[in-house]
């Protein structure tokens, strides 16, 4: 049955390739329409990606996106749309930064504490949506979007100097105070001022493996995927739907909470007003593009990190770097359309193939039946 596997691979790759090619073409058309050279910005971005310091930035950003996208993908695998990854990520970063700055512990313990607090905070924030869904039937799409807004206000209030925040002297910024060095996650210095790769990036990669194993090799993962593919069939098979919704919401939130860790533990060591936002939204696109598959999501995260970081010098050359945002936006639409097209094609093709193979070998079977 090797043939089916090869087919599956080709069909699996066809979706993202189709989406990317069409979004590239559309982006070029947008550039043309605004009277700009459509090739030059892309050439510049590829050239930028050749520099070591940009490469470090891309790798670091990939880790951040990867964690957040895994959180989204986990929900997607059972048809839960956790749109609230961004809020969970920010709140978790903020709370864990506060806790991290307020204690001093031996190295590994300090880091472990911060990471645990981040996971719990993310899980808690996502869990609210989970409980609302299981007890009241509130759509998680609506509740997580609203929780994003609430998280924004909550953080703005908590970070006020009269509450948990600190205002560094001579600055307009508000922070949560510096985490002591014992709570810094060691990175790999790339030398010559190229910066360092966050150590947490490797944790992210390891979690990709854990994600794969948990989903594909455990009972829990099977139940989760079954629920995503057919809720009614999963329920009849003995899956407790409510428990499953709540568990995956909590796990999704915990992963979202982790996605703030590379930045917090490896770079800023504090949560401030300038802490990156929007990671959770980009992660939705990345999870879609990567088909919720740990390897696919990794490549998608890499691509988006590249678009983000390699585009920074476009402004200097006279090209709006917003074209990368246009491109990311087009990818979302293209992904949804092309995946559905490919899925339908694949199903039809397989049904045909099965029919064909049975027609070829079917005559034998019938003869056997007659004699039986």
């Amino acid at each position: 049955m090797k043939k089916f596997d090869k087919d599956k691979l080709i069909i699996g790759a066809a979706g993202p390739v189709l989406a990317l090619v069409s979004s590239f073409v559309l982006t070029m058309l947008v550039l043309l329409a605004t009277g700009l050279d459509p090739i030059e910005p892309i050439r510049l971005m590829i050239e930028n990606a050749g520099y070591s310091d940009i490469q470090v930035l891309i790798v670091n950003q990939t880790g951040i996106y990867y964690l957040a996208a895994l959180g989204v993908a986990l929900g997607f695998r059972m048809n839960l749309f956790n749109i609230g990854v961004d809020g969970q990520y920010r709140l978790a970063a903020m709370v864990s930064a506060v806790v991290g700055a307020s204690v001093e512990l031996p190295g590994p313990l300090h880091i472990l504490l911060i990471v645990l607090v981040a996971m719990l905070t993310g899980a808690f924030w996502a869990g609210i949506a989970g409980i609302l869904k299981t007890s009241r039937g509130v759509s998680e799409v609506v509740s997580t979007i609203m929780l994003n807004a609430i998280a924004t206000s909550l953080i703005a209030w908590l970070i006020l100097p009269k509450n948990l925040g600190v205002q560094p002297a001579g600055s307009n910024d508000l922070t949560t105070g510096k985490i002591a060095e014992s709570g810094w996650f060691p990175g790999i210095d790339m030398g010559q001022g190229n910066g360092e790769i966050y150590g947490f990036t490797f944790v992210a990669l390891a979690l990709g493996v854990v994600y794969w194993f948990a989903l594909n090799r455990t009972r829990f993962g099977f139940d989760l995927r079954a629920t995503g593919e057919s809720e009614s069939a999963a329920q009849a098979s003995g899956v407790d739907a409510k428990k499953m919704i709540l568990t995956s919401m909590l796990l999704s939130g915990a992963l979202a909470g982790l996605s703030g860790m590379p930045t917090l533990l490896g770079d800023t060591h504090t949560y401030s007003l300038s802490f990156p936002v929007g990671v959770g939204f980009t992660a939705i696109t990345i999870a879609l593009l990567g088909r919720n598959n740990p390897v696919g999501v990794l490549f998608a995260a890499l691509l988006f990190a590249f678009l983000d970081k390699a585009s920074s010098s476009l402004d200097v050359e006279g090209y709006p770097k917003e074209i990368t945002q246009i491109m990311q936006g087009i990818i979302v639409i293209a992904v949804v359309v092309s995946y559905e097209l490919v899925r339908r094609y694949g199903t039809r093709r397989q049904q045909q193939k099965v029919g064909e193979e049975l027609a070829a070998g079917g005559a034998l079977k019938t003869d056997k039946e007659v004699s039986a």
Binding site: T218, A226, S237, G238, G355, L358, A359
Partner: protein, 545 residues
């Protein structure tokens, strides 16, 4: 009408090959064949939904080519689909004129025309009844009228009896005879051989996409037809020797389930007037209606208990309560002595309940997942599928191969998705899966629905074999022959209650049918026919669909 050398290829598959049929004017022509034999494709070609690759169609000696159903309608061909295409919230009149407004308008003229057709063919259709208030048999008559209204002279009926109880089938056949008497031609697609012999003037048999023979209904027997149809002997659902023991396996006492969330005002019984046209207007759901009403039953080891009933009378709820998917408001369920009343679904499955669901696509399979994952479904915690929370893919795949082999699931491999198998093969996979865990008690809901004759026999065999080993089976089926043939004990369910019991050795499908519509209750004795014939058919299943 004549068809010659019709061939239709889909990429890689030949659906129809060199089909030749001659339909005489003014006759009922039956087209029979197994599921997947190519009947539907042929009908789609006749109705202009698909174009043949080769071959010719001639009507009244004149060659025609249809590229849309519109062309076919213009030529006087009308189709009554198996699944009704009616808008529930519109009246009969509105449904009939919908899309055909140009013919006779939408007002008085259309109403007159409808009544005219209805009277001419004895259809008894009331133009102002809401379709949602009509039972299945009435809806079917509306469909037929809709086609006649558009001037059809040739009617194609796709499995028209699949949804009817025996009495309704007889009424339909009377209608068909009327149509025939008026010079109309009826093409009747079916795989129920007894019915075909009753109503058809000519019979054409299709097997593997081609016409394999014709038969004269006056001389042919069901056995001969079936052999033509499958190319082998007809399976029978008869269970030979009794294996019933006196060890109770499943005991259900006083199971009651109330409908929730319905707040419609109970209607006064005036709405229940049965009109002369035998249309039945069912009352709206009452608050807290009992979906299951004090259901008590015991199934012993080695016993098959069959439940007859028009769909929607509580069978689904009974299954869901037994599986633990809904929690009943009262009652006790005991399996092999252990109280299951408050146990979740998974524990019940682990405790030895096998489940062949009535809707395999919704409850039995992950359509987009490969066969081996479907083999795990429902038994993820049991050997050989997993050990200590970790899936054992190798063992699960091996066991899938075994099921495919032993239960003759026709598939090129276990990595194809469940969706790419035919219904019969999907069902065989489910049966194989459920039997692989040595259940003590099996719920078999419509185990052979939409399954071809060959697979049907295999599924019956599997159930019979397990029964011999001491399995207790709850069989729910709309196929009365299957119920009577397989069951050791029969019960009739009507409005959530077990209203009658019968001995499958003496009961006839007609007697069961009348109990199913609420016309008879208590213990049904074979041979007692009076009560049922005195009561004209009451279609009772308006809320079932």
């Amino acid at each position: 009408m004549e068809l010659h050398g019709i061939t239709k290829r889909f990429p890689g598959v030949v659906a129809n090959r060199d089909i030749a049929i001659t339909v005489r004017k003014g006759t009922v022509h039956a087209l029979i064949g197994e599921n997947g034999a190519g009947k539907s494709t042929l009908m789609k070609i006749l109705y202009g939904m698909q174009k043949p690759d080769e071959g010719t169609i001639a009507i009244d000696g004149e060659q025609v080519a249809f590229s849309t159903p519109g062309d076919a309608i213009a030529r006087g061909i009308g189709m009554v689909h198996q699944h009704f295409m009616l808008a529930d919230n519109l009246t009969v009149l509105e449904n009939v004129v919908l899309g055909g407004e140009k013919l006779h308008g939408i007002g008085a003229k259309a109403r007159k025309k409808i009544l005219e057709i209805s009277d001419a063919y004895g259809l008894g259709v009331r133009p102002d009844a809401l379709v949602e208030d009509l039972g299945v048999a009435d809806r079917q008559r509306v469909e037929i009228l809709k086609v006649l209204y558009r001037g059809a002279r040739i009617l194609i009926l796709d499995e028209p009896t699949a949804v009817l109880v025996p009495q309704e089938v007889d009424a339909l056949f009377d209608n068909l005879r009327e149509l025939k008497a008026e010079g109309l031609t009826v093409i009747f697609i079916s795989h129920k051989l007894g019915e075909v012999l009753k109503v058809a003037d000519d019979i054409t048999v299709i097997r593997r996409g081609t016409t394999v023979g014709t038969a004269d209904p006056r001389t042919a027997t069901t056995k001969q037809l079936a052999e033509l149809m499958v190319g082998s002997e007809l399976p029978s659902p008869e269970t030979r020797e009794s294996t019933v023991t006196d060890v109770p396996m499943l005991q259900v006492e006083g199971l009651t389930l109330l409908e929730t969330g319905i707040t419609a005002v109970p209607q006064v019984s005036a709405a229940r007037v049965v009109s002369p046209s035998d249309t039945y207007v069912h009352e709206s759901a009452e608050v807290g209606r009992k979906l299951l009403d004090d259901v008590s039953l015991t199934i012993h080891k080695g016993e098959i208990l069959g439940i007859a009933g028009v769909e929607g009378n509580g069978q689904t709820e009974l299954i869901e309560a037994l599986m633990g998917m809904v929690s009943p408001d009262a009652g006790v369920i005991r399996l092999d002595g252990a109280d299951l009343s408050a146990v979740p679904v998974r524990k019940r499955r682990e405790g030895g309940i096998g489940y062949i669901p009535e809707d395999r696509h919704r409850h039995g399979l992950l359509l987009e997942a490969p066969l081996w994952e479907n083999r795990i479904l429902g038994h993820v915690t049991e050997a050989p599928n997993s050990k200590r929370g970790i899936l054992d893919l190798k063992a699960a795949r091996q066991d899938t191969e075994r099921i495919v082999r032993e239960y003759d699931v026709r598939t090129p491999g276990i990595d194809v998705t469940a969706a790419s198998l035919s219904g019969g093969n999907q069902q065989k996979l489910i049966v194989g899966r459920e039997m692989s865990h040595n259940p003590k008690f099996l719920i078999a809901a419509h185990p052979t629905r939409g399954v071809d004759v060959g697979a049907q026999a295999q599924i019956w065999d599997a159930i019979r074999d397990a029964r011999r080993e001491g399995l207790a089976v709850l069989l729910i089926s709309a196929d009365l022959d299957e119920l009577i043939g397989l069951s050791d004990t029969l019960r009739v369910m009507y409005r959530g209650k077990l209203v009658a019991d019968a001995d499958p050795a003496t009961i006839t499908p007609e007697q069961l049918g009348s109990a199913m519509t609420g016309a008879a209750s208590g213990h049904l004795e074979g041979g007692e026919q009076a009560e049922q014939s005195a009561q004209p058919e009451q279609s009772e299943d308006g809320d079932a669909r």
